[in-house]
Amino acid sequence: MAKSTSSDVLTLIRSLRSAYAATPTNLKIIDLYVVFAIATAVIQVVYMGIVGSFPFNSFLSGVLSCVGTAVLAVCLRIQVNKENKEFKDLPPERAFADFVLCNLVLHLVIMNFLG
């Protein structure tokens, strides 16, 4: 039983890797960005767990900034992904402009909230 699951895991990981290798580079960069943002958010949460959440707005804006950028990057990735049929007629330039605008709003709010 354990053997079969572990082999399953191995094949799964292998197929995942091979499937992912096919994605275009620009999407991979976005993925990296998302992972980085999430990692930063996790670090902040861990830090909050150790040190405490005293300036709560700072903590909140820090974490939400990371989560927000991650979410927006995911949205951008969805939109520029060529395999996504839903956004065929959306040019990537437009998607990027939207992304920048949304980020701008997000970080203006965060700067305001930082305290």
Partner: protein
């Protein structure tokens, strides 16, 4: 509008013409929405209505005078004496900021703050009608949009909250609510981040304006969840939802009154939970996309075993978090929404407000009229075909019906949903009926030969359109435009309906065609129904909802009577008392007293401190001496009571008195409600209990009342009062308005020990008053 021989130019021309026509119809709808709300100004005058608007008015005045930074830091010491209130941090600033900046914008057009305040609500109801148009257009096309906007411009439930002068949060909040929903649907339909950003900003405006924003932040997650559960997840849903939660939470936290509540209270937890769920689902779809089906199955089984364990842990943590916060993280008002009996059980102060009561059935008919019958048809129309947008509208309706059943006040949230669905229903009905009429007429007029050539052309274009429609799930495409517009036009002008017949020929063949007579009669009936609605709305706007409630009128056989007692009393207070005198009254009149009389009050309509209100309630229900001591300890100089017994004004303090007893008794147990009731009945006649007849409220209301007609007949309670002749030992009457509706008493200074001296002191301390006083106290045989 020429008959389309060549389909393409004809189509564009028609589109252009339709666009212009639609624009003008929209403009007219805006004018209609604005002008139907002006009855109150025409019939009465340009005044601010009721209670809360006076507070908003005062805040706006402060804002325009002192600027925004002073406003955020405003500590108001003229209310809740001696506690005061931090206005900047406890008020939803959307409305006042809107009105305040309107003044700044119109620097060259001098408008007084009051004018702007009076007309804010009508202007925003026009905006709300337009927002409804856009929302419904996203769901079902232009025709439905225009119908829904017309219905919303007229709906009595919304008129009741947005007549000119009703300067309350709801006035702008309903617009913000509808507009947020529109942007959500728009984002859902287009999947554009730009609209998602706008959606978050609009949500921010809603958070600024009204506590009802929690409705949005719960409804949208519900809809997202519904989409996920029914297998309609799409990346557009992700784009519509995920940025909204992050941005919306941050923006909500910027508003001082919400602050950290945006992440701390359970009202917002649903959105975070769905936020997590949608990420899991998005990730699953992503994996599914890149893996082969077989490998995906393997992954599912693996992830499920791990995932369930993680989920249970997360849920356990969440439950622990929720349970650890006081009142389980829910505020009283929200709890009374979920459990309708909650308020009456635990929080009399919420239950005491009449607009927090459950509505009666007639009020549904009064407030949304025929929409109540059209809504089910609209729901059916939304299910054919069911899109993300139409499922959202249905969900919105269902939840708001529930909420309106809990609180009368939330009927206001139901109204837009009812309008949208009724608009869809009406529009679809007209669509089907006029189409069958047109088809029959065409059949009758033209032979099948002459029609054949045209229909072929039309067949192909219509077919293309249909194909396109199938591709895009969004309903706002060309076909729909063409399809919907005639129905609207027919509603407006019944004559122009025969031109469009050939366009729909192809579709009509597939659809059921009703007989000519039946559809004609049905159209007529629908028009009659619509005009009945219009008549009802105009009547409601003119008669039922326009009264400002600070100026009252009554019509009798000898003409119109105007009761302007409230302003008389407040003006008296303003001119005849010291600036720093404290005035005690029941909390209903707190806002008006601070705004109109500019005197410090003990409690007001922002019922943030229950104990303080209970203190006033206790004083009102105590005997004179105890009441005097309570009031004196609060530094009160004047006591104001509202009394309707002479003219028959039903919402006076005697009728509210039981709530004072209840609220007072809730904090100070020596006040017991049964003491004031004779056999469970609340009465003030000779059968009343001695506690009732000796309490301060009774005495202040009925002092010298017997002098008016000799019998002391109370026209509200329709009975003679129980105790007619008495005199006051600790209070003295200083002012009574023309119709006795407001009576103001002054606390007598504490007596000296020696009786003779005390009498002298009393005589000298008596101020000159504007009231009609005479030596009546001598006649009293009592006491």
């Amino acid at each position: 509008m020429v008959a389309p021989v060549e389909p393409k130019p004809g189509g564009t021309l028609r589109n252009a013409f339709g666009g212009v026509l639609g624009f003008f119809i929209l403009l007219l709808i805006g004018v209609l929405a604005f002008s139907i709300r002006l009855f109150s100004v025409i019939k009465y005058e340009s005044v601010i209505h009721e209670f809360d608007p006076y507070f908003n008015y005062r805040v706006t005045q402060f804002l325009t005078k002192n600027g925004i930074y002073e406003f955020w830091n405003w500590f108001d010491d003229r209310t809740w004496y001696p506690l005061g209130r931090v206005i900047g941090g406890t008020v939803y600033p959307g409305l006042t900021l809107t009105a305040g900046t309107m003044i700044l914008n119109s620097l060259n057009i001098p408008l007084s703050v009051e004018t702007v305040c009076v007309f804010t609500a009508p202007v925003f109801s026009a905006f709300a009608a337009w927002a409804t148009y856009f929302l419904t257009k996203e769901v079902k096309g232009i025709g439905s949009g225009l119908t829904a906007a017309t219905l919303l411009a007229l709906v009595p439930s919304y008129i009741s909250r947005s007549v000119a002068g009703s300067y309350d949060n709801e006035a702008v909040a309903i617009f913000a609510l509808i507009f947020t929903f529109f942007l959500y649907i728009k984002t859902l339909n287009t999947g554009s981040l730009f609209y998602a950003t706008l959606n978050a900003l609009s949500y921010f405006y809603m958070v600024c304006s009204w506590g009802g924003y929690t409705f949005i932040i719960n409804l949208i997650p519900m809809h997202a969840l519904l989409c996920i559960v029914t297998g309609r997840y799409s990346s557009r849903l992700y784009i519509a939802y995920a940025p909204l939660v992050v941005l919306g939470t941050l923006l909500a936290a910027l508003v001082p009154v919400v602050g950290f509540n945006a992440v701390m209270t359970s009202e917002h937890f649903a959105s975070f939970l769905v936020f997590i769920i949608i990420h899991v689902v998005a990730f699953v779809y992503f994996i599914k996309g890149i893996l082969s089906p077989k490998m995906f199955k393997v992954a599912i089984t693996l992830v499920l075993t791990v995932g369930i364990a993680v989920c249970i842990a997360v849920i356990a943590i969440l439950v622990a978090l929720v349970a650890s916060s006081p009142t389980k993280g829910w505020s009283g008002r929200s709890l009374s929404l979920l459990d309708p009996t909650y308020a009456s059980k635990y929080i009399p102060i919420i239950a005491s407000v009449s607009e927090h009561q459950p509505p009666t059935w007639p009020s549904y008919f009064m407030d949304i009229n025929i929409l109540a019958f059209l809504v089910p048809a609209g729901i059916i129309a939304c299910f054919l075909p069911l899109s993300d947008a139409s499922s959202f509208v249905v969900l919105y309706l269902v939840t708001s019906v529930y909420f309106s059943g809990v609180m009368v006040r939330l009927m206001l949230v139901l109204a837009p949903a009812a309008c949208i669905l009724s608009g869809i229903a009406l529009s679809e009905a007209f669509d089907v009926l006029t189409r069958s009429v047109k088809l029959q007429v065409v059949k009758l007029l033209e032979g099948p030969l002459s029609n054949a050539g045209e229909t072929k052309d039309e067949n192909s274009t219509a077919h293309n359109d249909v194909l396109k429609a199938d591709k895009q799930v969004a309903t706002n495409n060309k076909t729909e435009d063409v399809k919907e517009r005639p129905s609207k036009k027919n509603r407006k002008k019944d004559k122009e309906n025969t031109e469009k017949a050939p366009v729909k020929y192809h579709k009509e063949k597939r659809l059921l065609v009703l007989p000519l007579e039946a559809s004609a009669i049905a159209i007529i009936l629908l028009v009659v129904l619509g005009s009945l609605y219009v008549i009802h709305c105009v009547w409601a706007a003119a008669e039922a909802y326009s009264a400002p409630s600070i100026v009252l009128t009554s019509r009798s056989h000898d003409g119109l009577h105007v009761f302007d007692d409230f302003r008389e009393a407040y003006a008296w207070l303003r001119h005849n008392t010291e600036v720093d005198d404290k005035v005690a009254s029941w909390w209903d009149y707190g806002y008006q007293t601070t705004a109109m009389a500019n005197r410090t009050v003990i409690v007001d309509n922002n019922t943030w401190n229950n104990t303080h209100i209970a203190t006033v309630g206790t004083a009102m229900s105590s005997p004179e001496k105890a009441a005097w001591e309570i009031f004196n300890s609060l530094d009160v100089k004047y006591v104001l009571v509202v009394f309707g017994g002479l003219v028959g004004y039903p919402s006076d303090d005697i009728n509210k008195f039981l709530w004072m007893v209840r609220i007072g008794g809730g904090v100070f147990p020596h006040i017991k409600e049964p003491d004031y009731l004779r056999d469970g009945q609340y009465r003030i006649d000779a059968q009343a209990t001695p506690t009732m007849l000796n309490c301060l409220m009774y005495k202040l209301s009925y002092y010298r009342f017997v002098e008016t007609d000799g019998k002391g007949f109370d026209r509200v309670r329709r009975t003679e009062i129980g105790k007619k002749h008495f005199k006051l030992s600790h209070f003295e009457e200083v002012f009574t308005t023309h119709h006795w509706m407001v009576r103001i008493y002054k606390l007598k200074p504490p007596k000296n020990r020696m009786k003779g001296k005390a009498k002298k002191a009393k005589h000298t301390s008596k101020p000159l008053s504007g009231a009609r006083r005479d030596g009546s106290t001598k006649r009293n045989p009592w006491q």
